[in-house]
């Protein structure tokens, strides 16, 4: 790797390798982060970014390679050691203690002490309030962490990391759940930390953020270091090409399919406090996109349609037959499939094998004399795993050990095994890397081509615009627009999604959205705001 003397580098890893059993998670990871710099680390899921982060954090110990902090060789055996050396890490998934107060969560293990080593709660609360003030966070520091949204939890993680006063701060996809305003605040804080002379590592799949915030970018692929460039000297296309090792011509290859009969018909669906008078239809071979701001009620509508939640008024009809409310089992029997937003918690039994997960819904049909054998499960799961190219060496591997993209494929396989007529998919590519994203999109397109009706919820505007034949925009629990593929421009969708907000500034920003980069989504922030 190019670079000046080691003394100027805050964090340096060179040819670091780490294997878990026979699986090499990281073959040769390298990165050199200078103080006063925000360094982007990009790569597909499974490229080894998270493993690298966990080595720096002391969660894992590297097998080989050089690991230096401020020019000194280090070898962390625990997260406590890395913290003590001034490394703070914000993990992809928030790790909070739900029963404890927000303040305690921030200061756990290093609470300010008063006389006699007693915790000084007043000082702790004051510090937390100050941190939130700096971050512009609207959370009562006294409330328990339970019940907070993922975005709020992420903000607490950030406050926690900042309060550590670390010299090296690593953020593993901190913005995935944040709204536009929150992202702006986070970036402002990140910049001020940089100006204080700290070294920051920023992992993100959103290139607009990478280009907005970072000064240097390191690309990884298949557990290996690929390149490091100054942001000013590179382009999104170059980076994407390096990440996937090939030029990505089209990210969202939706092929127009023949649209058939109405499969799902929703009439006047209402649930007090969440959504009101929602009516729409999905036809065979059609992908209907459900767009809107995070929190607009899209997922809630989907859950009510599928029967996970109840509703107060309205009617859900599948292929002409009315469905009872709050009865997911009836919906499944009628041919409905539902891929939820949170696949680790709701989509998968992560401790179970791939085969068992794929067979989870159809398991009744696999039993012989009431007994379910591993052989029957494997036989049923094999073809689906193969068709969806689930990259896992064996069907008996636990789903927990797989990358996000592969997990999503397993969830899809589980539902496709039921031969559904309607697929509801909530955030199909959240936390999935560029290469696999395109694969998931191609898959959805193929499925629609085979006559499956698809209702797709997505917060990523390019995904909605690229994939959907028709876009329904939800705003504060109401459908505010129905747009055909031709009508669905970023401006039109956003206008409908923020129908209740006076938004001259956002509209102006959206007009500036560029068209040349398929992978950037300049409008993304507004849409998720």
């Amino acid at each position: 790797m190019p670079g000046p003397g080691a003394a100027e580098i805050a964090l340096e890893l060179r040819d670091v390798a780490k294997s878990f059993g026979s699986v090499a998670a990281l073959r040769s990871g390298s990165i050199a982060v200078r103080p006063r710099s925000i360094h982007a680390l990009v790569g597909e899921n499974g490229a080894g970014k998270s493993t690298l982060v966990k080595i720096v954090a002391g969660v894992h110990r590297r097998d080989s390679g050089v690991f230096r902090l401020h020019g000194k060789d280090v070898d962390f055996g625990s997260t406590a050691e890395s913290k003590a050396s001034g490394v703070a890490v914000i993990y992809q998934e928030p790790t909070l203690f739900p029963d404890l107060s927000v303040t305690e969560n921030i200061f756990m293990g290093r609470q300010p002490l008063a006389a006699g080593r007693r915790i000084d709660r007043a000082a702790m609360l004051q510090e937390a309030t100050g941190l939130f003030e700096r971050l512009g966070v609207h959370i009562d520091p006294r409330r328990p962490a339970r019940g907070l949204s993922i975005a709020d939890q992420q903000l607490i993680e950030i406050a926690k990391a900042i309060s550590l006063d670390a010299s090296v701060l690593i953020m593993d996809e901190p913005t995935a759940a944040l709204s536009g305003v929150e992202v702006d605040r986070l970036f402002a804080v990140a910049r001020s930390l940089r100006d204080e002379g700290r070294a920051l590592v920023f992992i993100s799949h959103r290139f607009d953020e990478v280009f907005d915030l970072c000064d240097t970018v390191t690309v990884m692929r298949d557990g290996q270091y690929v390149s490091t460039d100054a942001i000013a000297d590179t382009t999104v296309e170059q980076i994407v090409a390096r990440m996937v090792g090939r030029e990505v011509a089209e990210l969202f290859p939706k092929v127009p399919a023949e649209v058939g009969d109405v499969v799902l018909d929703v009439q006047g669906l209402s649930s007090v406090g969440t959504f009101h008078d929602v009516s729409f239809a999905v036809r065979a071979g059609e992908i209907v996109g459900l767009a809107g701001l995070v929190g607009a009620g899209r997922s809630e509508i989907a859950r009510a349609v599928f029967g996970v939640d109840g509703y107060d008024a309205g009617r859900v009809t599948m292929a002409g037959r009315s469905l009872p409310k709050h009865r997911a089992r009836a919906a499944i029997r009628a041919g409905m499939a539902f891929v939820p937003e949170d696949r680790r918690k709701q989509g998968l039994i992560v401790e179970d094998s791939v085969a068992r997960n794929v067979g989870a819904v159809i398991r009744r049909g696999l039993t012989r004399a009431g007994l379910l054998t591993a052989r029957a499960e494997n036989r049923a799961a094999g073809p689906w795993a193969g068709r969806l190219e689930v990259k896992t060496p064996a069907l008996d591997m636990a789903a927990a050990t797989m990358s996000g993209g592969n997990q999503q494929k397993v969830v899809l396989a589980k539902w496709l095994a039921t031969n559904p007529r309607l697929l509801i998919i909530d955030e199909p590519t959240r936390g999935i890397d560029v290469g696999t994203k395109a694969e998931v999109h191609r898959l959805l397109s193929d499925l629609a081509g085979q006559g499956l009706a698809i209702l797709m919820i997505s917060s990523e505007l390019p995904e909605v615009l690229g994939m959907a034949d028709r876009v329904l925009v939800v705003c504060e629990g109401r459908i505010t627009a129905e747009l055909s593929r031709e009508e669905a421009t970023p401006e039109a969708v956003m206008h409908a999604a923020t129908a209740h907000v006076v938004h001259a500034a956002e509209a102006a920003a959206a007009d500036g959205g560029d068209t040349g980069r398929p992978a950037t989504d300049d409008n993304h922030q507004e849409v998720t705001a």
Binding site: T79, T95, Q111, I119, R146
Partner: protein, 348 residues
């Protein structure tokens, strides 16, 4: 969104917030039930509370379970459980008797210290097994429950410790009072205050809650999970050892059945007192009141004229009611917190 800082509910005055928290607290609810029970029983039979013996028994009888419930709380808070405390109590009680038989002149304080340390060692065995082998505490302590009881049976056989084996001063301690309050109850209250204070104000005490709230997050956080869990079991064992010495002092006789089944009462007391069985929340104060309630119910029901069978059933119903209440309240609180978030979002 507005850019002004709004840390929403902090607009409430501190006094009102504290008052609200106290009124909603589980401890107050259980204490109210306890007071109501005592009043009702006293109305039926005034000597239950108003006679000198009644007053003493009311305070003295729960002191053993009180200790066990304190220890149990410390363990349950970390998302573990210690089922061996009943056996630990029995074994330590017998050890106490044997010590006095072998060395009649032993100072009483030394016996207390030895009982405490012996219990701590037994607790450490539990803690080491749980934290080193990562086997659920339920299984480990179920095992040591039988092992400790087995050692006790082998050691004691059919013999037992009688009051005559114990020094007079030690026997007296079992019923001695200071300002009408039994000494054993005072000691238990001191332990309660100490442990409660520790859990609330020490870093390591708060870490026990963190570990129980989300063990994986605690690991990622760099908390010394193993050490803390080990310490929790040592505390539980030590307190159970102390309870063993109490047992010998209170009853004078120790046979091999001593402390039998008390571990479940201790778990019950903690649960009734609002300690979440999956860890992360609850206080020793609640557990202590729960212990008082459990023991007092057992003593009060015969006076009120309820048959043996129903006494057991009432205790069972109480435990289930406590857990159901917990679920309902937790669900309500979760809804409230989510609502507060929505509110904040729409106002922001």
């Amino acid at each position: 969104m507005s850019t002004t800082l709004l840390v929403e509910p902090s607009a409430m005055s501190p006094a009102r917030r504290v008052a609200g928290a106290v009124l909603r607290s589980r401890e107050i609810a259980v204490a109210a039930v306890l007071v109501a029970l005592i009043l009702l029983t006293t109305l039926k039979n005034p000597s239950f509370l108003l006679s000198a013996d009644g007053w003493r028994d009311l305070l003295l009888t729960p002191s053993l379970l009180l200790l066990l419930a304190i220890g149990q709380t410390v363990v349950i808070v970390t998302r573990n459980v210690d089922l061996s405390v009943g056996s630990t109590l029995g074994l330590t009680a017998y050890l106490t008797g044997k010590l006095f038989v072998a060395h009649p002149g032993l100072p009483i304080l030394a016996v207390f210290v030895i009982g405490l340390l012996f219990g701590a060692v037994l607790g450490m065995v539990n803690g080491l097994l749980v934290s080193l082998f990562k086997v659920p505490a339920l299984v480990i302590t179920l095992g040591t429950l039988y092992i400790y009881r087995g050692i006790f049976l082998t050691w004691a056989g059919s013999s037992r410790i009688n009051a005559s084996d114990l020094p007079e001063s030690f026997n007296r301690l079992g019923s001695q009072q200071i300002l009408t309050i039994p000494v054993l109850t005072i000691i238990a209250a001191v332990v309660l205050a100490g442990v409660g204070y520790y859990l609330h104000t020490a870093r390591s005490g708060r870490e026990l809650y963190a570990i129980g709230s989300d063990p994986e997050a605690a690991q990622l956080y760099g908390l010394p999970v193993r050490r803390r869990i080990l310490a929790a079991f040592v505390i539980s064992g030590a307190v159970a050892g102390l309870a063993g010495v109490f047992y010998a002092a209170r009853y004078g006789t120790v046979s091999s059945g001593a402390g039998y089944g008390m571990e479940l009462q201790a778990v019950g007391a903690a649960v009734i007192g609002g300690v979440a069985i999956f860890g992360g929340s609850g206080t020793v104060w609640g557990a202590a009141i729960g212990a008082f309630l459990l023991v007092t119910i057992n003593r009060a029901l015969p006076i009120v004229g309820i048959s043996d069978f129903w006494q057991q059933a009432v205790v069972g119903a109480l435990i289930i009611a406590a857990i159901v209440l917990d679920r309902v309240l937790a669900a309500r609180q979760e809804r409230r917190l989510v609502a507060a978030r929505e509110e904040a979002r729409s106002h922001a």
